[in-house]
């Protein structure tokens, strides 16, 4: 079965890629399998300067999920361009840079620098784990539109905007970034959560709150993608709890054109490859004959699934 597909900036040989922050810049996973097997790679967030991130503990386990508050630790955009992208570029796969920042200027600076070296940007306006800036961009449609527009302007490649699920109205956010010129959407980032340890009487995560990811949040991701697909005419990279080939199909039926896999890489470093290998058989089991047929397949106005959504 043909799994390949074109999305803005991306020639995906299959609809599966690792999610930002869960795969660093690929090196660690390259010892487990050939990264050329991946549809694409979404790199860890890049900021203007290097960031150390939050205190530890930075992760906590939850029911079928986890909390993290890494705090966007990264070596800074210049070091990523010099030291990380050259390695990833040796593989036959698309590279997406996750762009973060505290100010519009920082977002624009990172985008301008890194976009020459990758196939697309994922604009991260939804990181719940940094105090300054990030949160408002991801929850206020006007700010989201503004930062999107400026990054799109600065970028040489298509911009996918990564939406936060911590909002009352996800469709408003999606429409705002569509207006801002986004080429696609990436959803969802983590739900803000907390765990408290009865032994210490304190939040487990040093940052107090963290982002909830994993199977636990999948129903929220599916709901939001299903909602947005009906209202916004942009391709969606779906994520949030993908652990199996069936999950990939569920995301595509909801309206995603591709999926990213995050936390599940920690449970099984081979998960992306294993799901890619299983996908054709799973699609056949459910009687699908092409990837296009699956995308948006859960919507009544099925006809839409056929049209090119970019």
């Amino acid at each position: 079965m043909k799994l390949s597909q074109s999305l803005p900036g991306l020639q995906l040989k299959n609809p599966v890629m690792p999610a930002s922050g869960c795969f660093a810049f690929g090196k660690e996973f390259a010892q487990f399998y050939d990264l050329s097997e991946l549809g694409a790679v979404i790199m860890k967030a890049a900021t203007g300067e290097k960031r150390f991130g939050n205190g530890t503990p930075r992760v906590a386990e939850t029911a079928r999920g986890m909390l993290n508050a890494i705090g966007l630790q990264n070596p800074g955009v210049d070091a990523i361009i010099e030291e990380e992208i050259p390695f990833l570029s040796t593989f036959d796969t698309s590279i997406i840079a996750n762009v973060a920042g505290s100010t519009v200027e920082e977002y624009v600076e990172v985008a301008a620098k890194i976009s020459a070296h990758v196939h697309a940007l994922e604009l991260n306006i939804s990181c719940p784990n940094v105090k300054e800036g990030g949160v408002q961009f991801g929850t206020d449609p006007m700010l989201a539109e503004e930062v999107t527009a400026q990054v799109v302007e600065a970028s040489e490649v298509p911009v996918y905007v990564k939406l936060s699920p911590n909002v009352t109205n996800i469709v408003d956010m999606a429409k705002a970034v569509e207006k801002g010129g986004a080429a696609g959407l990436s959803m969802i980032n983590t739900l803000t959560g907390m765990r408290i340890d009865p032994k210490t009487r304190k939040p487990i995560i040093a940052n107090q709150t963290g982002g909830l990811s994993g199977a636990a949040i999948k129903p929220v991701a599916i709901r939001m993608i299903h909602q947005v697909y009906q209202e916004v005419n942009l391709p969606i990279i779906g994520m949030g709890g993908v652990e199996t080939a069936d999950d990939v199909i569920e995301f595509l039926l909801a309206g995603a054109s591709a999926v990213a896999i995050g936390s599940a890489n920690f449970k099984n470093p081979l998960i992306c490859k294993e799901i890619i290998d299983e996908l054709p058989r799973a699609l056949e089991t459910y009687g699908f004959t092409s990837i296009e047929e699956v995308i948006g397949g859960a919507h009544d106005e099925k006809a839409r699934a056929g049209i090119f959504r970019a």
């Binding site: 487990f32 530890t56 386990e61 986890m66 449970k267």
Partner: protein
């Protein structure tokens, strides 16, 4: 580093809430240093893997021994795995004690509680190199103690317990002043407060410490397990740059 379903060859309790688990598989062949760890997926009741040090291993038999203490859900679930079952293991992870580079006459090993296990294979390798070993072991109580006989076969051992039910009453660090004069280097593993006390008391000696932190990936990709470092890079990842560090490399909180 591999992901492998290893076979459980032995599994029994050796002290209060403390278990000995012997696993067989190809991962053993990849072990390069004592002090490395494996990252275990206990089952569907837990989400994240659990890091456990390799206490001992046998290349020929492809076996490794883990000693673990029940601390919560994951280790609790682990106790229910039976001999013959297989276990989802990722490893060997990280960098251990650089035993090849050590050529001292006499070294000090300091282990606290469930930090004792990774020192065992280290001790065996040091002894095989002809290095004299003195070991300080600290436990809560006599019921929690383990590996005493094993360490005694390798050198002199001083034990302390918090409640005085075995050895001297007090902390493992209480012994240090008495033994430090004769040793050239130290190796330690245990709770962070102990590591800090040890490295301060032995600030004038070269030493290696093995650290713990909550992990996500266990392979260096998620940056969950960082510890600040003294150099320009500013951090180390415990899962892949460690868990063993030179004492002066990292900043102990």
């Amino acid at each position: 580093m591999k992901r492998e379903w290893m076979t459980i060859l032995e599994h029994q309790t050796i002290a209060r809430d403390t278990y000995r688990l012997v696993l067989q598989g190809d991962i053993v062949r990849d072990i390069t240093e004592p002090g490395q760890f494996v990252h275990i997926q206990v089952g569907s009741g837990t989400y994240l893997r659990r890091p456990v040090s390799i206490s001992d291993f046998d290349f020929e038999k492809k076996t490794m021994t883990l000693l673990y203490k029940v601390m919560g859900k994951g280790t609790e679930d682990l106790t229910r795995k039976s001999v013959g079952e297989s276990l989802d293991v990722l490893g060997p992870g990280g960098r251990g004690f650089p035993v090849d580079q050590v050529d001292d006459d006499h070294v000090l090993l300091i282990g606290g509680g469930i930090g004792v296990p990774p020192l065992y294979n280290l001790a065996k390798q040091l002894k095989a190199k002809g290095i004299q070993i003195t070991t300080l072991l600290g436990f809560q109580s006599a019921d929690d103690a383990f590996l005493l006989d094993e360490f005694e076969e390798l050198g002199e051992v001083f034990v302390s317990t918090n409640d005085g039910t075995l050895g001297r009453k007090g902390f493992v660090t209480d012994w240090i002043s008495e033994v430090k004069a004769t040793v050239d280097r130290y190796f330690t593993c245990g709770p962070t407060v102990m590591l800090k006390a040890v490295s301060e008391q032995l600030a004038d000696l070269p030493g290696y410490i093995s650290m713990e932190e909550r992990m996500g990936c266990g392979i260096g990709a998620c940056f969950a397990c960082v510890v600040p470092s003294h150099d320009e890079k500013g951090y180390r990842r415990i899962c892949c740059d460690g868990p063993v560090f030179e004492a002066k490399e990292v900043v102990l909180a």
